[in-house]
């Protein structure tokens, strides 16, 4: 079997590959002739949104990406920041939204598989996973099916490969009903001098395919990820694969062993668009060419054509570039781990990628033109009409309920606010024995073995805010992430983002995207957090609407001293509780969870945000932690001050229903401005609840004054009730039960 008959190429075929007339014309111009079938396939995947970012590239340029600690910015498999001691943290987030919508378990599982590969390809050992998730309302049986499927998919895969899932977030909102967002983030630890990059350098070096065999999986998956979900999506050839965490674990170990050995010059994972994008990206980065013989690729299915082999998305495969003389040693490593290893081509210096079967040439494309001349579109943008309508919201028209205890209970049992124990208990969050702060506090904290340091990790984005005010919503996502890190004692080093939006061809959607990215970029600049990697997921739509614009942020920060790790929970009776940050503004209830779950409205504007005040607050809290003045720190976010205070009381014992004794609170909010319910539930940004020993009050107040941060005493830790004078009075155990049992009760 050497002859492969290829179909005739014309515009009709091109269209079916998702290539428009204009793009088809430039392909012919680049080639100087009609492309072959295989060539067209290569163009179609590399020029898909997923690989080319053709609709988002101009926006991504807005992000600040440089800082002294950045060892690797966007453009590689993952970004890397320096944490000192010759070590770096590699980080990246990915979406697996569409596969998870049609097969939640496998879709989410293979999402974990993909993101792991991005990290260990860089020579970094994966040390943590995070899983920011967005679903519709849990009232809906299909949503419950998606939710439980996604969570167990992540659990089974992540647990099996032995990487702890140390945190994440889960938001429930109708806008995500048929199109959930399943984002997954991975962090890895790398010795800076062992960082590996995806370069196909050195003419004459071998191109080696390693890992699993190649089958007809997910051909055209990269373009699938770039389409709206429709009825047909599920009828197509299975575009969802079965996760194979076991083989992934072997590939991970083998790859790290290979990198450690120093035998390879470049490594790239085969992710979306498989061999096509991996090999061509490697050649493009190195400015070289490649010649590959498809008959040498280890196959799983009979009769595969060069086109199919190039486009296959079979999992657990990598491309390695290495000098010829190292081949036998490399093969021995993969043999040990029972994985395939096969030389499939060589690096050339003519800048072309040439795909052959034996002697017959199936594609011959200039790499530079293929990559550099990929289309880039500045899409049309138009402010959505709903925005002005929402601005007309008058918050004082909302009737003030008499019973604030009742409101607090409703908010605490809203699945978005409620405890996520049901989720994270299914994840092994301790394997590798580094997790110092387990899921449940503002940020997860991992110690870095062999040093006295730790890193804090968080993921955040409130899609509702982005819907109400895309710019502020974007800025808030960054600010909240940085705030969560500050509360744990960490200084932000870098962030990774996943831009989840609808169809960019809709001008309203593109407007949201543009504004949100501008907001993110502005916050990155003011808060001094560089963007080091990211991912774009578009076409998140169901039949009737787009999801809320959801530019998810994953952020990592450094804690210089293990003794400074701080958690959100009150520690001892008698400690004094303060509110630091914005204590003077009038409350604004727009976009709050309270407005939604108690009053049934999504309305108004997103909370206001003053980024420079935010920055000052973070610096103050970190300095106070460093000075040893802080017993607990918790940011105020969804649910407002009342929820933040309640969460500080919910200390984490083994049994979720047994609260630690004496960590109740007696507080008084009468000095805060505004109506009572707004005071309790408005979602102010730039606010942190702190507690300190009574003997440290003066020092803490002094530091705040010195740094120009407002701070106000709210009350004292103690007793077993949550008391907010004249407003709230609940037994902590009861409030906790409401909060702990909300999700398990629905999922029973």
């Amino acid at each position: 079997m050497t002859k492969h008959q290829e179909p005739i190429v014309d515009i009709k075929l091109a269209r079916s590959f998702g290539i428009n007339q204009e793009e088809f014309d430039s392909i012919q111009r680049i080639m100087g002739r009609m492309p072959s079938y295989t060539e067209l396939g290569i163009f179609s995947v590399l020029w898909s949104e997923h690989c080319s970012y053709k609709n988002s590239k101009p926006l991504l340029k807005l992000f600040p990406t440089r800082a002294p600690q950045v060892l690797q910015g966007p453009g590689e498999n993952a970004g890397i920041v320096d944490i000192g001691d010759g070590l770096g943290i590699a980080m990246k987030v990915e979406s697996h939204n569409h596969p998870s919508a049609i097969e939640p378990y496998q879709g989410a599982a293979t999402g974990i598989g993909g993101i792991l590969r991005d990290i260990f390809t860089m020579g970094a050992r994966p040390i943590a996973l995070m899983d920011p998730l967005y679903f519709g309302s849990l009232e809906d049986a299909h949503v419950r099916h998606l939710f439980s499927g996604v969570v167990s998919g992540i659990a089974d895969y992540g647990n099996c490969v032995g990487i702890p899932t140390v945190g994440g977030s889960v938001v429930f909102d109708e806008s995500y009903t048929t199109n959930p967002l399943v984002n997954v983030m991975c962090l890895g630890l790398v010795e800076n001098k062992k960082i590996m990059r995806g370069f196909a350098s050195g003419s004459g070096n071998l191109v080696i395919a390693v890992g699993a065999t190649t089958g007809r999986d997910g051909i055209h998956g990269a373009t699938f990820a770039s389409e709206e979900l429709s009825e047909e999506s599920s009828a197509k050839r299975p575009s969802v694969q079965i996760g194979d965490p076991f083989t992934k674990k072997l590939l991970l170990e083998a790859t790290l062993e290979l990198i450690e050995s120093g035998l390879a010059v470049g490594i790239q994972d085969m992710g979306a668009a498989g061999l096509t994008s991996s090999s061509i990206e490697m050649a493009s980065r190195a400015g070289t060419g490649l010649e590959m013989d498809m008959s040498q690729v280890p196959l799983r299915e009979k009769g595969m054509t060069p086109y199919e082999i190039m486009l296959s998305e079979s999992q657990e495969r990598m491309v390695v570039v290495a000098p010829k003389e190292n081949y036998e040693q490399i093969k021995a490593i993969f043999d040990k781990w029972e994985l395939h290893c096969s030389s499939i081509g060589v690096v050339t210096d003519d800048g072309h990628v040439r795909i052959k079967w034996g002697e017959e040439v199936f594609a011959d494309i200039p790499v530079k033109a293929l990559v550099d001349e990929a289309p880039v579109y500045e899409r049309e943008s138009q402010k959505p009409g709903y925005l002005d309508k929402l601005k007309q919201f008058i918050q004082n028209d909302i009737k003030e309920p008499k019973d604030h205890n009742r409101s607090l209970n409703i908010v605490l049992s809203a699945p978005t606010i409620a405890s996520k124990r049901w989720v994270y208990q299914q994840y092994d969050h301790q394997v590798r024995t580094n997790t110092a702060v387990l899921p449940g506090s503002d940020a997860a904290v991992l110690r870095i073995r062999g040093t006295n340091k730790a890193i804090g990790i968080t993921t955040d984005c409130n899609g509702r805010y982005c819907y109400l005010n895309p710019f502020n919503g974007g800025a808030i996502a960054v600010a909240e992430a940085a705030r969560n890190l500050a509360c744990s004692g960490a200084k932000p080093l870098g962030l990774t983002d996943c831009l989840n939006f609808g169809n960019p061809y809709k001008p309203e959607v593109f407007y949201q995207m543009k504004q949100a990215v501008e907001g993110l970029a502005e916050a990155c600049k003011v808060l001094e957090v560089p963007v080091i990697s990211g991912n774009v997921s578009l076409y998140n739509e169901s039949l009737t609407h787009s999801v809320y614009p959801t530019p998810l942020i994953g952020m990592v920060g450094l804690i210089e001293d293990l003794s400074q790790i701080t958690t959100q929970w009150f520690k001892e009776p008698g400690d004094v509780v303060f509110l630091a940050g914005d204590i003077k503004s009038q409350p604004d209830i727009g976009g709050s969870e309270y407005l939604k779950v108690v009053h049934g409205q999504v309305n108004g504007d997103a909370p206001a945000i003053d980024l420079s005040a935010e920055k000052k607050l973070h610096d103050f809290v970190r300095d106070a932690i460093k000075a040893g003045l802080v017993r607990s720190a918790h940011d105020c976010s969804e649910g407002g001050l009342a929820v933040a205070l309640a969460e500080c009381c919910f200390t984490p014992p083994l049994d979720p229903l047994l609260n630690k004794e004496g960590t109740g609170l007696v507080a008084d909010l009468s000095d805060l401005p505004g109506r009572s319910d707004f005071k309790l539930f408005a979602e102010f940004q730039s606010r942190i609840v702190l507690s300190c020993k009574p003997s440290d009050i003066e020092k803490l107040e002094g530091l705040a004054k010195k740094q120009g941060v407002d701070i106000m005493k709210l009350g004292t830790v103690g007793g077993d009730r949550l008391v907010i004078k004249d407003l709230i009075d609940l037994p902590v155990a009861e409030a906790r039960k409401t909060w702990e049992e909300a999700i398990p009760n629905i999922m029973k």
Partner: protein
Amino acid sequence: MKFAVITFPGSNCDYDCYRAVKDHLKCPVEYIWHREHSLNDCDCVILPGGFSYGDYLRTGAIARFSPIMRQVIDFADKGGPVIGICNGFQILLESGLLPGAMLVNRSLQFICKTVHLKAENNKLPFTNKLTKNQLIKVPIAHKEGNYYADQKTVRELEENGRVVFRYCDSSGKADDTANPNGSVNNIAGITNQQGNVLGMMPHPERALEQLLGSSDGVLIFDSIKNFLGAK
């Protein structure tokens, strides 16, 4: 006094066990790849947790056929101390070194949390530093930890003090609400007739530092060192 940590394809707590011996006990320790045919004169064998062969087919089912398991069985038959943690326990069950089998947790979910254990047998190489019925806090992390054995076997275990650890609450009560996975009689760990093979679902190697939440696992590792030192 040298320890062996057996690594199967898919093991993932091998690293944690290795660090536990090296950093905590400060004893020599080596990884032994499952295809090896020798235990290199080690004095104690640790079968670590994880997902050998991905837990495909059944937990521990494939791993028990690894070449090194012959040596492990020989070593155990000669009275050498063998401790299997989590997946290691499952492998011990499959290979017949311990009786019974694992079913999926009754919640059908993986569970990762810290639990209380009651140490009911403190006469073993692994428990001599514990007092009888001492309560310790140790994390569990598994999906198949629902221990099952037929009535006769359970009686045999119970009557001969072979139930080493039992899940209980903070007051030591081992009732159904303190049972995280549905295991028969709240069994968390058992030993063989000779008392030199221990299988337990909880992870003592995760409980060696207060920084990570509990240091009660120290007692188990120190017991082994104590036992080997006294030999």
